[in-house]
Subunit: 151 residues, 2 copies
DNA sequence: GATTGACCTCAACATTAGTTGAGGTTCTAG
DNA sequence: CTAGAACCTCAACTAATGTTGAGGTCAATC
């Protein structure tokens, strides 16, 4: 049986220390709908323990380069007000895995291009995929078209 | 033999169109020491053609997630005032390759952790490398550092 | 029951990476 | 030579992601 300790909600200081995220950042996340907290009678925050997992997810996703807005959107697929189940997390995480895989692939592509392009000193934008990594082109309004170089 | 056309320096409009980087961003890069330009008698910018390559490098590096400051530092290893040789670019690019390799490794690590951690629903921060991806906490004052790459 | 560290809110500031606009100048095509 | 497109500078603004500080409250310990 888990001890009572195990279930006690976390203060913001505890969450901050354990997650490595500053209290001010946690406030910020809350203001932006990424995490939430109960309050004590005296108005202090008390976090469910699974918030730690949520914050971990936020940090992880940020490291992958995703903006908080996107992360918040993803987190909205988690249940509100109760601890998510494994199933909840798995669903979310498999979506994220796809992102990760794509980012890894893009980076590898980039590295190979560097070897072949900058590495050889050519960096001929004409043949080089560096500038147009297959994503974004139609959606963009102004800027960033045509990396073909007539050289 | 290259035609005269080939050697004509680029106006900011040309550089902008070919690089896909807005003129205002090019101004910004110049203010921040990432690129430079000659001036005409009438004070208009004229870019050496290799600036295109430089800008390509900047964009590429940014996509990898590097801040302009780091990119500028790297570019400082290129010669000032003359077109870099292949050797110049190669030196720089091999350093970047190392960075890229590290980033790829970190992302892969992250993905594996996701599979093992979030994927299984545990995401136990205690045992999980997600939160402490080998960079350290000792130096940190208060939470939430940006993930800066080792120099 | 006082002290002290942890916590609260709110507003202002910081940094990165630019964009926008006003007001004026230069370049080039006809 | 002149019209209009392209360029110039400078200052102000944007957006994301927080941090810092002032002024006040809460709660755990001596």
């Amino acid at each position: 049986m888990p001890s009572v300790e195990t279930h006690r909600p976390l203060t913001i200081g505890e969450l901050s220390e354990r997650s490595g995220v500053s209290a001010s950042a946690l406030h910020f996340y809350e203001r932006n709908g990424l995490i939430e907290a109960e309050r004590t009678a005296g108005n202090q925050r008390r976090y469910r323990r699974d918030t730690l997992r949520r914050v971990a997810f936020i940090k992880t996703s940020q490291r992958v380069g995703l903006p908080l807005k996107d992360i918040r959107d993803a987190l909205e697929s988690l249940p509100d007000g109760r601890t998510p189940t494994k199933r909840d997390w798995s669903r979310l995480s498999s979506r994220w895995r796809k992102e990760l895989d794509e980012r890894i692939a893009a980076l590898q592509h980039l590295r190979n291009d560097l070897d072949g392009c900058i590495g050889c000193g050519c960096l001929s934008l004409k043949s080089c995929t560096l500038q147009n990594p297959s994503d974004e082109l139609g959606a963009s309004g102004a800027g960033a078209q045509r990396w073909t170089l007539p050289e």
